[in-house]
Symmetry: C3
Subunit: 137 residues, 3 copies
Amino acid sequence: MPTFHAHIAAQTFSSEEKRGLADALNLALHEAMDTPMEDRFIIITEHKEDEFFIHPTFPEMKRSEKRMLVTVTTGISRTVEQKRKLAELVTRYAVEKAGVSQDDISLLIYAIPLENMSFGAGKLVSDAELSMPWVNK
Amino acid sequence: MPTFHAHIAAQTFSSEEKRGLADALNLALHEAMDTPMEDRFIIITEHKEDEFFIHPTFPEMKRSEKRMLVTVTTGISRTVEQKRKLAELVTRYAVEKAGVSQDDISLLIYAIPLENMSFGAGKLVSDAELSMPWVNK
Amino acid sequence: MPTFHAHIAAQTFSSEEKRGLADALNLALHEAMDTPMEDRFIIITEHKEDEFFIHPTFPEMKRSEKRMLVTVTTGISRTVEQKRKLAELVTRYAVEKAGVSQDDISLLIYAIPLENMSFGAGKLVSDAELSMPWVNK
C-alpha cells in the first residue's frame, strides 16, 4: 500500500495534469517496486501562494512554477535500488504526463513496517499478510 | 500526543459527519492506547475529485465513496496489540459516527520517539516527560 | 532538505502572518540545524472549523485560536540537542513573526535517511551527497 501525497501550487495544474500526475506516480511505483497497478493510493493538495514555499534553485536546481513536494510511504523492506528507481521514474513520468520540469519533484520517502498499515476492514496488513503475497514484492 | 490526519473526498461528508469522524478517532485512540480523551489532535483535509485516488476495491475490499486515508503519528513504544486494537476501533467507531463502510478506512501509522514531539511551549516531550506519566501509557 | 508542513485554522492568519510563519520556520531551522537559508521547503494547509481539532489546553497549555500542528521531516543524523533547539526557536520566531502564543505550536519531527530524500532531478540525496557537504551539517 505505498501511498503518495503530492503538494502543488494552486491554479498551476489543469485537472488533466493532476490526473496525469496521479498516473505518473502510479506507474513509477509499479515499475520501481513491482506493485500491482491497482495498488493506487494517491492524494494531491493544492496550496495558495502564501502557503507554498519551495526554493526555486536550491541546491543547483532549476525548478519551474510546477515544482512540488511529493511524499510516499512504503514498507520498510524496500531496497535502496528500488528507491533510486522510484525517484528516477517519478520524475520521468511526471515530466511526460503532467508537464513538469526535470528538477521539479522533491521527494520524501517514509518507510514503515507492515504492522503499521491497514488497507481497510480494521485489519493490519501484517495480520493479513499471507493472503497478499504481492505486498512486499 | 498521537495525532491523526484524515484525507477525505470533498463534498462527501457533512459537517456533522466530519465532527463524528473526529470523535471516532479520538475514542478509538483512547480505548486502544489508553490516552486521555483530552489528548485530541486531529486534522482533516478534503480533496477534490482530481486530487483523490484511492482504489475502490484493491485488495479484496469494497470501499464506498466515503473511503479515506487516515494517518496517525504515535510514540515508538506502542505495541502491535495496541496498533491492532487501534485499526479495529477506528473503523468500528467511524462506521458508527461518520457513516463510513467497513472497508473505507486505510490507515498508516508513523512511530516516532518522544524526543521528536512537542506539545507546545517550545519544549520536547522527552524533556517534560516526568510530569506527564500518561504520555506512554 | 528539512521540510515543514504547518496545519492552521482557516481565516485565522493574514497572508502576511502566513509568510511570517514560513520565515520563522526557515530561520529556526537555519539556526538550530545550520542549514543554508536557501534550504527552504515549507508548505501550509488551512483547515476549516469542522476539520481542525487541536485541544486548547491539553496538557497544561494555554493555546490561542492561532494554535497549529507543525510537522518537520529531517535527516536521521540530527541530534537531540538540535531538535531541542529547533522546537525552542520555532516557537520563539513564530511568536515574533506570526503573532502566535507561546503554547501554540505542537511539533512532530520525522527522521528519515538521506537515501529517502530527493531534491529533484530524480536523484536520491545519498547518491548526490559528495557535492552537498552542508546536507548533514
